[in-house]
């Protein structure tokens, strides 16, 4: 069972989906899955500042709760707090993979085989994210779960990396998680992949 610190970090990293570059986001989620909060305390605030990503009050509270106990620099954390609206990249989502809608989706088949009936896992859905120009399609996996979110994220990331997705986008959503627009739009344009043992609905 993860600690409150880990859960706060997990929620923060969910809220940073589509804002922090994928190459950094999946890595931070991987380290969180291994319980390396002190490593995140050294790296996440700096990464936010380097990429010019400001946090709103909710996100900043999660950052502070998750990482101050593990040695995050107070001044760096303070500098991440944003005033006003953030400039969020505009993605579009589609429930069909690009140019291969009729082809078999072996990744989805493997995920279904691995997650079907799995404890603590609810519905699993997939969406395809496109950038502002409608290019660079990328699979976003939405997984409803009732516990073990960081570790499940790390596990599924490892699976997708072996399958060729170098920077996997795995969104393991806790119950009652207040989703940002990114996840809402992805969910609204998604297709089912699998169903775990829990009757949760993503």
């Amino acid at each position: 069972m993860e600690s409150d610190d880990e859960l706060a970090c997990h929620e923060l990293l969910l809220l940073l989906a589509g804002r922090l570059p994928d190459v950094a986001l999946w890595r931070f989620r991987d380290w969180l899955g291994e319980g390396q909060l002190s490593v995140l305390a050294s790296t996440v605030p700096k990464s936010l500042l380097r990429h010019g990503i400001g946090l709103d009050q909710r996100e900043h509270a999660l950052l502070s709760k998750g990482l101050i106990p593990h040695g995050a620099d107070f001044h760096q954390l303070s500098a991440t707090l944003r005033v006003g609206e953030a400039a969020v990249p505009r993605y579009t989502f589609s429930d069909t993979p690009p140019e291969r809608a009729s082809e078999p989706d072996s990744v989805a088949a493997l995920l279904d085989a691995a997650l079907r009936g799995r404890p603590d896992v609810g519905e699993v859905r997939a969406s395809w994210r496109h950038d502002e120009r409608g290019r660079n399609p990328k699979r976003v996996l939405l997984v409803a779960a009732v516990s073990g979110w960081p570790r499940l994220t790390g596990e599924l990331q490892r699976v997708l990396r072996v399958l060729g997705d170098d920077e996997p986008s795995i969104e393991v959503l806790p119950e009652n998680f207040e989703m940002p627009d990114y996840h809402r739009e992805a969910l609204a344009n998604s297709r089912p992949v699998s169903v775990g043992a829990v009757g949760a609905t993503a």
């Binding site: 380290w31 990396r161 170098d166």
Partner: protein, 386 residues
């Protein structure tokens, strides 16, 4: 992880050496991202990424490596508190990787590098190989293409690694790019990879004399790779000693024991007939010298290859040229001016107009042969569909 001469080097170069030593031990994504960050003057981020990857994966460093990495992390401005969490060990440090060259690991590599060669100074050799085993705690897909590049003293290993990695990625040829130089030796991982690799670009021509020095004996030409002072225990660099055969057959950097194919190479289930045929050709190449046109079927030389082919005249060709000059000089000059032992530049200065005309004709013939050979290379290698 200091260079073999023990010299002080810059932080990016020291970080480059660290990353070379960690290749195959951390995942390729971390390796490539760290190199990208380092090449973008963000060495602190790169070092912290490496530290986090080592810590999360509980990947051990040797105590000497821990010392060097700690210094690099501190010098780069990274968070040195991460060092406390690193794992140190002396055993089972190097994963046992399997490399193989079946199924054309070099496909598309030369074409991807060609547009950026002007930005890759002192490029000496490029090889490619498949790594059939996973690397790090969070591995990517296998097989993983590994491109091994050797640059001379004027080349920048960090910049070359990043530039080639981007070019390959943009060309749809994803690869891990490893770069060595006279100041940065190949660690054992890259040596093993090189032993199984196929050549993509070779620098044979770099050791050849230019056209204007044709009459100078071949062995007097100053080898361009002479500054590559690899220690004897470094077979990867030793292969650049340009004293071997002058054939255009690609020089195997590590001897290429193709018969010692790793068991993991049977990983490829869908080996196409053409690939099988080409593989068989490579096995033959190792066992016996092939004519240049066959050797070039998978190898593309640097632009200097035209010069190389010109200077690689046979002894008979050289003798023919010298005889022609003698005849021309005998017709118009005193006997004491016939000496063919004089330096080439002096002889040229004393040529009559007729001599010069003869020389021009000979050069024209040689240029024609160069073009024919270059065309052969194009047909067989450079523009091969990937």
């Amino acid at each position: 992880m200091a260079n073999h001469e023990g010299k002080e080097t810059s932080v990016p170069m020291r970080l480059h050496s660290v990353l070379l030593a960690l290749a195959g031990r951390i995942d390729d994504g971390a390796l490539g991202h760290a190199r990208q960050l380092s090449a973008s003057a963000r060495a602190d981020e790169a070092a912290e990424l490496v530290a986090g990857t080592l810590i999360a994966g509980e990947i051990p460093l040797r105590s000497s490596e821990r010392q060097e990495f700690g210094e690099v992390l501190a010098a780069s401005g990274g968070d040195v508190s991460l060092l406390e969490k690193l794992t140190v060990g002396e055993h089972d440090i190097e994963p046992a990787h399997q490399f193989g060259a079946d199924n054309q690991p070099d496909a598309g590599v030369a074409a991807a590098i060609e547009p950026i060669k002007a930005a890759l100074p002192d490029l000496r050799a490029v090889h490619a190989v498949w790594r059939n085993t996973a690397a790090g705690r969070v591995p990517g897909a296998v097989p993983q293409r590994v491109v091994l590049i050797e640059v001379g003293a004027k080349g920048s290993p960090p910049a070359t690694a990043q530039r080639v990695a981007v070019a390959l990625r943009d060309a749809g040829v994803p690869a891990v790019v490893e770069v060595a130089s006279p100041a940065v030796d190949w660690p054992s991982y890259q040596q093993r990879a090189l032993a199984a690799a196929v050549p993509v670009l070779t620098a044979e021509a770099a050791s050849s004399a230019p056209v204007r020095e044709l009459r100078r004996p071949q062995q007097e030409a100053e080898p361009a790779a002479a500054g590559f002072s690899a220690p004897p225990e470094q077979p990867a660099f030793a292969a650049h000693q340009p004293t071997e055969s002058t054939t255009t057959e690609p020089r195997r950097t590590n001897g290429h024991h193709r018969a010692d194919r790793q068991p993991g190479e049977s990983f490829w289930p869908q080996l196409e007939p053409t690939a099988k045929q080409q593989t068989a050709e490579h096995v033959r190449e190792d066992s016996q010298a092939e004519p240049p046109d066959q050797g070039a079927s998978r190898v593309v030389n640097f632009p200097e290859s035209a010069v190389e082919s010109t200077t690689e005249l046979s002894d008979a060709d050289v003798q023919k040229l010298q005889d022609a000059l003698r005849r021309a000089e005998a017709a118009e000059r005193a006997p004491q001016q016939e000496s063919v032992q004089m330096p080439a530049s002096d002889a040229e200065a004393q040529l009559s107009e007729r001599d010069r005309e003869l020389l021009r004709e000979l050069h024209a013939e040689l240029a024609k042969r160069e073009r024919e050979q270059a065309e052969q290379v194009k047909l067989n290698g450079w523009h091969r569909p990937s």
